[in-house]
Amino acid sequence: MDELLLEINNLQTEFKLNQGTVHAVNGVSFKLNKGEVLGIVGESGCGKSVTALSVMRLIEAPGRIKAGEMLFHGEKGVTDLLKLSPTDMEQVRGNQMSMIFQDPMTSLNPVLTIGYQIMEPLKIHRKMAEEQAQATAVKLLERVGIPEAALRLKDYPHQFSGGMRQRVMVAMAVACSPRLLIADEPTTALDVTIQAQIIDLINELKDEFGTAVIIITHDLGVVAEIANQVSVMYAGYVVENGPVQQIFEAPRHPYTKALMGSIPRLHSWPERLTTIEGAPPSLTDRIVGCPFQPRCQFRIERCASENPGLMPIATGHTCACWVAGHE
């Protein structure tokens, strides 16, 4: 039986800047079951990273989470993460949910040893003593494939290669066996052979610890590889949501379709790639109607005035489109 882990309802995040308010996330909703992998895809500026940071409650001024509900099924029952005090949230973050970032060099502290950084969450959340934490850290490093782990505890981040640093990040993230792991572009800065190693690692750990994963990436290939569920984002909205097979093989939203047609594939080379005319809307403007409508070749009159919102089109498959939704 699928057991619900995280339920996001109508999440809205905005940034108040001098130039105006940036509406980065405009009512995102999704559900994630235990042990499942959700891929959030979209192009730069579509709000996928802000969604992740919102779930971790890591949005800082001038940004703020304006509305929404984030129900997390944790150790102590269901909690709305948005209602937790900052201190309570610290008990959850790094413990029951943790995050991996794109650039391991900037997210590891350059003046602290790797060992210190891996042991930190263990000491704080698991109340481990120095020796026990050290033993666990060695085990973790071995698990993520760092050779001579015991010796490398005393090394600093710059003494590791890019792929190794990302492994260290993964080790830190899974240190407390979190229920939820959020990976924001975990492989974007890496070469393909190293990327493959990190994807394999995340996949293995997910099975081992029963961790649910949210993976955020612009690389549709990575999502196809690792995710069960996919949410496609555009201009701060989720435009299509469904099982990975359906999203890739029978996408319904015009944006998803165009996105799929625009990637060169290894085994089929078309004469031309699909392109999308125009540019995404400015996020400082209030969007009326469907956000994709100005660039959409299937638009009808209704699209300009009314935002369709996600509507079910098949089991577990929703799509925010007046045209595709009513085929």
Partner: protein
């Protein structure tokens, strides 16, 4: 068969490295190691490999922006390595480059018109009015709005900035365009626009491309032939179809297997390649790929395999 436009023979580029301030030992980082390639008129040769494999250095060495350590570059029947500065400058009109980060490659204080005019001013092409007309034409062929001329590069999106970079490269009507990761910084939908544009321009002007990218799927879409580089050496080169479907070098195989495909049914085989790319300063003995190679034998550690031809057109460097 169309004639050869560019050929490199045993091209080497190495950089001296000093480890430690007082060190007496001088190391050499061999970034490009005896590379032989030919590109025919109107063809696209793709160059793939992971970071640090020397593909960008190869592009810059071909352009003579790096002085080759040894070997030769023959462009349009002429040897470039022995050319003097003035002669080379004239030759460079016919070979231009597009870079990965368009904003870094465009002067932020110049208007788009000034950027596109500059190469023509330097090479004294046409009259002043003719240059003005040419700017308008360049904007048109690269799909830029005509009012772009008086604006600055920062006012444009990444995709449009790359179009400006392409327009500038075309200003002198070159024969060869070296594209160094031209779409790596772009979103996929914009990437598709630029790739389509590059193909259209090739048809329209009969351009020849050396297309450098770490993305083998993009390279396959763009190129008739693909060369695969590892630690400065060309390990396999051949027609794109052959490289992608029936590559023979274990590194090419591993690279292909590592590419995540946007098809959930076609899952990757697990664990294709272990370890990291070795440092080019501590290059492994024998075949540079042997420490990571799944089929390495004892011989690979001592003897560097030579490139040899297999099948019809594919030279192959392996035991």
């Amino acid at each position: 068969m169309p004639e050869t436009l560019l050929q490199t023979v045993d091209l080497v580029k190495s950089f001296p490295i000093r480890r430690g301030f007082f060190s007496q030992h001088h190391f050499r980082l061999v970034a490009v190691d005896r590379v032989n390639l030919t590109i025919r008129q109107g063809e696209t040769l793709g160059l793939v490999g992971e970071s640090g494999c020397g593909k960008s250095t190869l592009g810059l060495t071909i352009m003579q922006l790096y002085e080759p350590t040894s070997g030769s570059v023959i462009f349009d029947g002429q040897e470039l390595t022995s050319m003097g500065g003035g002669e080379m400058q004239k030759k460079r009109r016919q070979m231009q480059m597009i870079f990965q980060d368009p904003l870094a490659a465009l002067d932020p204080r110049m208007t788009v018109e000034e950027i596109l005019r500059e190469p023509m001013d330097i090479h004294r092409v046409g009259t002043v009015t003719e240059r003005g007309t040419e700017v308008t034409r360049l904007l048109k062929v690269t799909g830029m709005p005509s009012d772009a001329a008086l604006r600055f590069p920062t006012e444009f999106s990444g995709g449009q900035q790359q179009r400006i970079g392409i327009a500038r490269a075309l200003a002198l009507q070159p024969k060869l365009l070296i594209c160094d990761e031209p779409v790596s910084a772009l979103d996929v939908s914009v990437q598709a626009q630029i790739l389509n544009l590059l193909r259209d321009l090739q048809d329209q002007f009969g351009l020849t491309y050396l297309f450098i990218s770490h993305n083998i799927a993009v390279t396959g879409f763009m190129s008739q032939r693909i060369g695969v580089m590892y630690l400065g050496q060309m390990v396999e080169i051949g027609p794109s179809q052959v490289i992608v479907r029936e590559s023979r070098h274990p590194y090419t195989n591993a690279l292909l297997k590592a590419v995540p495909e946007p098809e959930p049914k076609r899952k990757r085989l697990k664990r294709s390649l272990l370890g990291d790319v070795p440092s080019p300063i501590d290059r492994p003995s024998g075949c540079p790929f042997h420490p990571r190679c799944p089929i390495a034998e004892d011989r690979c550690q001592v003897e560097a395999p030579a490139m040899r031809e297999i099948g019809r057109t594919m030279p192959w460097r392996v035991i």
